[in-house]
Symmetry: C2
Subunit: 638 residues, 2 copies
């Protein structure tokens, strides 16, 4: 596709204008506010992450030096807490947020520098290892926290502090004479600076972001080689072997495959997408589209998990998507959502919304237990029964990242255009949306994602004409629209959206009926691990089978599924189970074992696979919330 | 089975009496002697393992301290070289063997202690960490080397040195007052001491072995807890979490599952089997049989690989046998062979010979490249194409272990009983075997393992009566015996052996015809990873498919095999390929991709799996000797 303009034609409606009331997200948002955010605060205090801002110079130097990016965790917590505060006043939380903001500010150095480790522990190593030591990554998260804090409280103190830090970084790094041509090994600051620019109006932050994106991956010499040599080390001894790991192997416009550390790749691409818009730069948008194609067509799990390898927390080769050993870090799915949210706003293409939806309902929210205080860092698509959520991690990047996305989830539902309202997702909500400058009350009623019947009541202040774009999800094969009860003979979706243009009267009702049958999914023949296997999906929900539902089957791969039988699985909503879920139930085929004994491991006669067994499938995202056991998404096809 | 006596009724015929001339092992023995042993010597010199015996006290202390068990590698090399020497005089190798023996002896301390690391590098840590620091393991390998050196050269100097070391260890450790109740975390010395006892006739070595086996796993207090506390450390912080890793979690007679580090487990069990015989102790033999059952019936790969997990280099849970992530260390398969060789001698039960054969022809010899100088440490049953043999390892335990087994492979072919000759394997060879004290010349002619036709010419000095026990392999479903051309109506095998008792005339010929059809193997329904899959075997050879033979198929799991088609695979011997192998060729079913495009990763329509493809299977043991690529043993069954 030839890109004509790289300006975004859509603007997301902020979460502060949207109130979720659906059975899936609204309870999770509430648990996030009341359980997850307080739990994370305690963990951050207990592990010294918040106390670090006290800059106690007597702290011991850990050996080996690991996890020197601890400032990012309180930053993400602060961001999550500020979002929660922005939708629901809470004086106690407000006080805590303010205390943490003050603590962060107190650690800022006179020159603007703000990093606890390289102030209190290793001051002589400041900016000495941009490749590995995460100073810019931490700065980025602090900037995002500052923007969120400002938005939630209206106070400028943290925002001003981080603007000063940005100015100090811009004075240190750049292409101008006297500056160093460095950039951080873990992208994040690039997208944060764009947010800082919008919050402050100061274009210098945007300019810095542009520099950091465009300098990245330049060689001759490569900045990371230069700084390694300056430290007296050998560039050839970099453990990850390639600067792909740091997204610094090639300039962004020259990249053709999505490689390296998945979170780093996605955060960088968020910044790239932002800059494409800000500078109306088609070459950056083309880079996004090229890498998005490689990611989504060759390197993404069905759940929206990305990055199969534990080794580099990231990408390997095309079509390498093993299920049981999948890394699929929660943070990577989050960053994937953030990137697609940015891409969606350019031209309102539903393929991006499809990825957001697929990821949010599956590989993102699997990261959080129903109790709100246990987390997956790694989200495999099969488990022998030993993979469980834990209350915290040595590297606790995922929990506060889940917290900030959940608290701001309203961001993803709507966008507006010049005289357009875009409806991306159908979770029940009420919203007040300015369309062409004038407010429209939107009341969306649904039982999504368990049901495809959606009712949208639109109430402009007075009758007026504008376009409503309704997303027809990629998974949906049959749909129908009614307006005020009358069927509409709508055109086929364009780029995944059906457009209804009319003069809307207050109280007009659009009914959208999305067919939600049980679907069978097959993987491309080049995916090694999934041949002869099928997965089961209904609406946006990917299903799995858990050992706890299949008593007596010590090995879930004994179960094969016949596609015909799967299509006839019964759909059963259970409000009492797993926070309220829709189950799929039916019959599978079981490898029989009545003619085996425990003294025969291998034999020449085929097991008579004629047994049948009742099968219960639950949404993948809620697995491991009951008794520990096996889990499997991809089943052998009979 | 009730054990009545725990004395061995069979005695293996030593490799020095057997000369292999078969197409499979004889060339590998020759390459071992002419390539592998010199290659290993160079690597040991280059990596400082042999120089370590110079006890250079100025060597820097490595940090962290790893691989402090370096003495074991030259020891195993010396053992391999001595075996090679014992069958083929070689003045140059003899000189080298002698130099290494002298070097080892030169490092012995006045008190008898002999360990380079804890003499030259960390003398203050001698015997301070039996759990982790491998002093007794190294001692064991040095003892085995000394026995081999004595047998090959007739010289006693190294044997005497190691006998002195044994005496020093016996004076330090034991249940007597004033001694410490320790034992090594990596078993090996237990079996070595029994060999030292036989070579010297000194029963003190046997007594020490018995102490080390029986003290192991005693608690209240546990010796490893005591020594950890003495070092000022915390027993709860042991990385492996359980003393199962060191085979020290429970006394041997109380163990019911084979657990922990696979090589440690197998070496220990060799010692246990030896002591069962030496002390006529049925309780030790029962322990062997119990753990053997668990290993072979629940925890062994089809290739004779054992220990699926990289984490502990060992065992996990029953039926956990993933193919691609299989660890299956070469050393573990070697130790499995050693243990089964010991068990086979008790009562001549073919089930033990079956395991030896299955392991030698598959998971053992896969460890060595055809060029004799590249090695697998890890022997998975499937590979994405990134697993390759290398010339050496940071921990080079496997190469010299392969070398010593290959050089002494004749050990496994025959045993004798009171008036019995046992024939376990049918590799072509000529042997001179003392049956009831009188020599019998044996000329075995075959093309084993490629062909099941075996001709055995027996030539006693004069006509005499004795029993010949011929093994009918577990994989063999049809067999026939002829004597001097006449069919024999033999009884069904007892414990896997057919017995022919007669008065043998010089030149009598036994012909054994073992049906060698293409067989399909299925795994127990509890094996998670293998359901709906089949493997292909012919005779003792397990087959695999390599990417290099399936051009254009980027993913071998696209191929499914129909059992009926597999049974009709053609059998084709190719003398020019892979050192001479028998291939299996036929037709498989291919997941078609002509209706997929590169922009679709998942879809709702089943791939039309109607394509067919020519399939070539090669012996598993020779994979990765051609162009790098994928490999797979277990195929989806159509």
């Amino acid at each position: 596709m030839t890109t004509q303009s790289a300006r975004r034609q859509l603007t997301p409606v902020p979460f502060t204008d949207v109130r979720l009331g659906d059975p899936f997200w609204a309870p999770r948002q509430e648990i996030n506010r009341t359980v997850t955010i307080p739990h994370m605060y305690r963990m951050l205090v207990d592990t010294g992450r918040i106390g670090a801002f006290d800059l106690d110079f007597s702290r011991e130097l850990p050996a080996p030096i690991v996890l020197i990016f601890g400032d990012s965790d309180p930053a993400k917590w602060l961001e999550a807490a500020a979002y929660a505060l922005a939708t629901q006043p809470d004086p106690e939380l407000h006080k805590l947020v303010d205390e943490v903001a003050d603590k962060i500010i107190s650690a800022q150095q006179p020159d603007g520098y703000l990093n606890t480790h390289f102030t209190a522990i290793q001051p002589d190593m400041r900016w000495k290892n941009l490749r590995d030591w995460h100073e810019m990554y931490c700065a980025g998260h602090l900037m995002e926290a500052a923007v969120a804090h400002h938005q939630a409280t209206g106070e400028r103190k943290l925002l001003d502090a981080l603007a000063r830090y940005s100015d100090y970084i811009a004075a240190t790094f750049g292409r101008e004479p006297g500056k160093r041509r460095g950039y951080g090994g873990h992208p994040e600051i690039e997208l944060a600076l764009v947010r800082l620019y919008h919050a402050t109006g100061d274009e210098r932050h945007l300019t810095l972001s542009k520099y950091l994106v465009e300098e990245r991956g330049q060689s001759d010499p490569h900045y990371y080689d230069v700084e390694v040599v300056a430290r007296g080390e050998d560039p050839a001894k970099f453990w990850a072997r390639s600067y792909e790991y740091c997204q610094a192997h090639a300039p962004i416009r020259e990249q053709t495959k999505v490689v390296g550390h998945a979170v780093r790749a996605m955060y960088l691409m968020c910044g790239v997408a932002d800059l494409a818009h800000e500078y109306d730069d088609p070459s950056l948008l083309e880079a996004c589209e090229r890498l998005w194609g490689n990611l989504v067509h060759q390197r993404m799990y069905l759940t929206g998990g990305i990055g199969p390898s534990r080794h580099n927390e990231g990408f390997t080769t095309d079509y390498d998507l093993p299920d049981e050993s999948a890394y699929a870090e929660t943070c990577a799915s989050i960053a994937l959502v953030m990137w697609n949210q940015r891409l969606l706003q350019f031209r309102g293409e539903g393929k991006y919304a499809d990825i957001i939806e697929q990821t949010l309902y599956n590989g993102f929210i699997s990261g959080l237990a129903l109790d709100g205080k246990h987390f997956f860092y790694v989200n495999p698509l099969a488990s022998a029964g030993t993979h469980h959520r834990t209350p915290w991690f040595v590297c606790p990047c995922c929990p506060p990242n889940v917290g900030r996305i959940l608290a701001s989830l309203g961001d993803y539902l709507y966008s507006t255009g010049p005289n357009d309202l875009w409806v991306h997702f159908y979770a029940q909500n009420s919203a007040s949306i300015a369309v062409a400058g004038s407010p429209v009350q939107v009341q969306l009623t649904s039982n999504y994602p368990w049901d495809g019947e959606v009712r949208i009541e639109l109430t402009p202040e007075t009758a007026r004409a504008f376009a409503v774009h309704l997303r027809i999800p990629g998974w949906c094969q049959q749909w129908q629209i009614r307006i005020n009860g009358a069927s509409v003979d709508a055109d086929a979706p364009v780029n995944g959206y059906v457009t209804v243009e009319r003069t809307w009267q207050p109280g007009d009702v659009v009914e959208l009926s999305l067919g939600m049958s049980v679907q069978i999914v097959w993987a491309h023949p080049a995916v090694r691990q999934m041949q002869g296997r099928l997965a089961v999906q209904r609406g946006p929900i990917v299903y799995c089978v858990e050992g706890v539902d299949q008593p007596g089957v010590e090995n879930l791969d004994r179960i094969a599924l016949d596609p015909e039988q799967v299509r006839n699985f019964s759909v059963e909503h259970r409000a009492d189970l797993l926070g309220g879920v829709t189950l799929l139930r039916g019959t599978g085929i079981l490898v029989a074992d009545d003619d085996w004994d425990s003294a025969t491991l291998y034999r020449r006669d085929r097991p008579s696979a004629t047994g049948s067994i009742p099968v219960t499938a639950v949404p993948y995202c809620v697995w491991d919330n009951r008794a520990a056991g096996e889990m499997r998404v991809w089943f052998r096809a009979a």
